[in-house]
């Protein structure tokens, strides 16, 4: 077992941190103000080749490891901005298209996802369901060379940004309740495809989560990802990938909270001395550090198992069970250390606390993941 990162990985971390300093932090406040990021954000990621990281070069990707993606996600998490999400969404969606797509599908959809000309989405959730695939009501009915899609999706990240989305729909021709979900790649500028205004959330300003409405949208049959009726399996794969990426982002968020707490305790005087001298505070910091480290290595392990092509559905569920609440607690402790300033918008810590709350819900809920990990033990 080797806990040291390769020199390449270390340089990638440095480059990602450089990128955050130059391109992300300067726009952080305006993203919150506008509840949106600049349109060219994805192109900026493409320029430093942070898209299509796990996609082989022949499709326009970089061909690196999932561990490296997680390391970059961690750096982006440290910025306490939403910016990781468009980048991670493109990476996880591209990885899934590469893994399941036919040669024609790969050639058509991967290059634009890698060069930043297309924003990716992955859409499963609907107004009436987020955790139950049998309850999907958006349907795709075959018609000649196309499907005609009708229905609505909810909370679709980047659903309003031009590009492609993998939409999980009920296949009108397939009757088997357990195998009637098909993954369809939809051009988000198709006729009949409309979106709501972005949802306003308690954190993650600029996430661009919208409701998507399909009214007789024609999607070529050649846009099916994998095989018809196999959508649920593909979805489970994508969600597992997304869970690891989300955990990487959370580790960065936790590290940022810890760093801010350490800085604050050195500056704030209590009874004439910096808070950092108080044992009770040191204990809190020690606690936070060990938690962030534990989360970090559990996340790296999941990424390495993914790289080794081992089964990673359960290990990625463990991240939801352990990393998510642990980092949430770390951000709470960091807020507590800041006293009233922590609760105020003067400091960044309240923002980290609010962002951390998303992770128990997005990319499958913590409870669902407890079921995945627990049931695997007694199966």
């Amino acid at each position: 077992m080797d806990f040291t990162l390769s020199p390449e990985s270390k340089m990638m971390v440095k480059a990602a941190s450089d990128f955050c300093e130059k391109e992300i932090l300067p726009i952080a406040d305006s993203i919150i103000e506008n509840n949106d990021y600049p349109e060219d954000l994805l192109v900026k990621f493409a320029k430093v080749r942070m898209l299509g990281l796990a996609v082989p070069k022949e499709y326009g990707g970089v061909g690196t490891t999932n561990l490296n993606i997680i390391l970059i996600a961690e750096e982006l998490g440290k910025t306490g901005t939403v910016c990781a999400w468009p980048m991670l969404m493109n990476n996880s969606t591209a990885e899934t298209i590469y893994r399941w797509g036919s040669e024609a599908v790969r050639e058509k959809f991967l290059p634009p996802l890698c060069d930043g000309s297309a924003y990716a989405s992955t859409a499963f959730t609907e107004p009436a369901t987020g955790s139950d695939p049998t309850a999907i009501t958006t349907t795709a009915v075959p018609d000649g060379d196309d499907f005609i899609v009708n229905g609505a999706k909810r909370y679709i990240t980047g659903g309003n940004k031009k590009g492609y989305g993998v939409f999980y729909v009920k296949d009108g021709e397939l009757k088997d309740q357990k195998a009637n979900v098909t993954a369809l790649i939809v051009d988000k500028s198709s006729e009949g495809y409309t979106t709501s205004a972005p949802w306003e959330f308690m954190g993650l300003e600029g996430m661009n989560c919208v409701d998507v409405f399909f009214k007789d949208v024609r999607v070529p049959k050649s846009n099916v990802l994998g095989e018809r009726g196999n959508g649920f399996r593909i979805l489970l794969h994508w969600i597992a990938v997304e869970r690891i990426e989300q955990a990487g982002y959370m580790v960065g968020l936790g590290q940022a909270a810890l760093d801010q707490a350490v800085k604050y305790t050195k500056e704030r005087l209590v009874r004439g001395k910096p808070m950092a001298f108080m044992q009770g505070i040191q204990w809190m910091l020690g606690d936070m550090k060990s938690r962030v480290d534990a989360c970090r290595y559990l996340t790296y392990r999941a990424a390495c198992i993914h790289d080794e092509e081992g089964p990673f559905d359960v290990v990625s569920s463990e991240l939801k069970i352990f990393v998510v609440p642990t980092i949430q607690e770390v951000t709470r402790m960091a807020l507590q250390i800041h006293g009233a300033y922590g609760y105020s918008k003067e400091y960044k810590i309240e923002g980290l606390f609010r962002i951390a709350a998303h992770a128990g819900i997005v990319a499958s809920s913590t409870e669902l993941n407890k079921t995945i990990a627990g049931s695997a033990l007694v199966r």
Partner: protein, 261 residues
């Protein structure tokens, strides 16, 4: 067009701390970085390559860990890297540094431009670039804000205090660039992966066709006699009363009384 970029590895001053007792730098455990200004030199070279084609070679003299700086330059996208490491080079001052770099440039032979940073954040003499040009007997264009190459001539906009000068020279020539010349790129992820697949050429004193007594400490005319922190004379703080205008007026009077303005 072939460009040589000279880069120096320096301690990361952001991480440097001072020993409060002796007042000297604590260098132990300080990470090393590419001299920030030399990243401008790399960026300038990469931009020229994008416009005119050719190859960019980075050259650095220093102990074995300069490999990290060279790998980082490869990560930014330069084509080749040459490392000058030898115990003979230890203790080089700016003259001996330029001498060794000059010999290496002669050995490379095929080049149109050499680009250096204006100065290193640790040594800060801004001498190595100009001395290297003298050593090679080629024109030097210093403090460049902009670089343009046309028909085997190079033109720069030179920053000189409050005014600019436009300089032109035939190539080969040496340029030193300012911090404001450009925004060094973030190393792209794919180039980083390639950077570790590339071989770094390693030359020691024997590989350079030079005189032994000109290398390193022996070859350094400047001798360091003492390093010390000047004593700070603690000033007195004086609070000026009154409204902003009145206080400003009093402040100006006081400064004038000391012949500062």
């Amino acid at each position: 067009m072939n460009i040589i970029v000279c880069i120096k590895q320096v301690p990361d001053v952001k991480e440097v701390s001072w020993d409060p007792k002796t007042g000297s730098l604590i260098r132990k455990g300080i990470p090393s970085i590419i001299n920030p200004n030399d990243k401008n030199a790399i960026e300038a070279a990469l931009q020229l390559r994008e416009r005119h084609g050719g190859e960019v070679t980075v050259l650095s003299m220093g102990p074995s860990q300069v490999e990290d700086a060279l790998r980082e330059a490869l990560g930014m996208g330069v084509d080749k890297a040459i490392q000058l490491t030898s115990k003979e080079f230890a203790g080089s001052d700016t003259w001996a540094t330029s001498y060794a770099l000059g010999l290496a440039v002669r050995k490379i032979a095929q080049y149109d431009l050499i680009i250096c940073g204006k100065e290193a954040i640790d040594g800060m003499t801004a001498q190595v670039g100009p001395q290297l040009a003298e050593c090679l007997n080629i024109p030097q264009l210093t403090y460049a804000l902009e670089i343009e190459v046309t028909n085997s001539k190079v033109k720069i906009k030179q920053k000189l205090g409050d005014f600019h000068r436009l300089l032109e020279a035939p190539m080969p020539a040496l340029i030193t660039v300012e911090r404001e010349a450009n925004k060094p790129r973030v190393a792209p992820m794919d180039t980083i992966l390639e950077a570790y697949g590339k071989e770094i050429t390693l030359w020691d004193a024997d590989d350079l066709d030079g005189e032994d007594e000109n290398f390193g400490l022996k070859g350094s005319p400047t001798k360091l006699t003492r390093v010390y922190t000047p004593k700070l004379i603690k000033g007195k703080v004086e609070m000026l009363e009154g409204g902003p205008e009145e206080a400003a007026r009093k402040c100006v009077e006081k400064i004038r009384a000391r012949y500062i303005i």
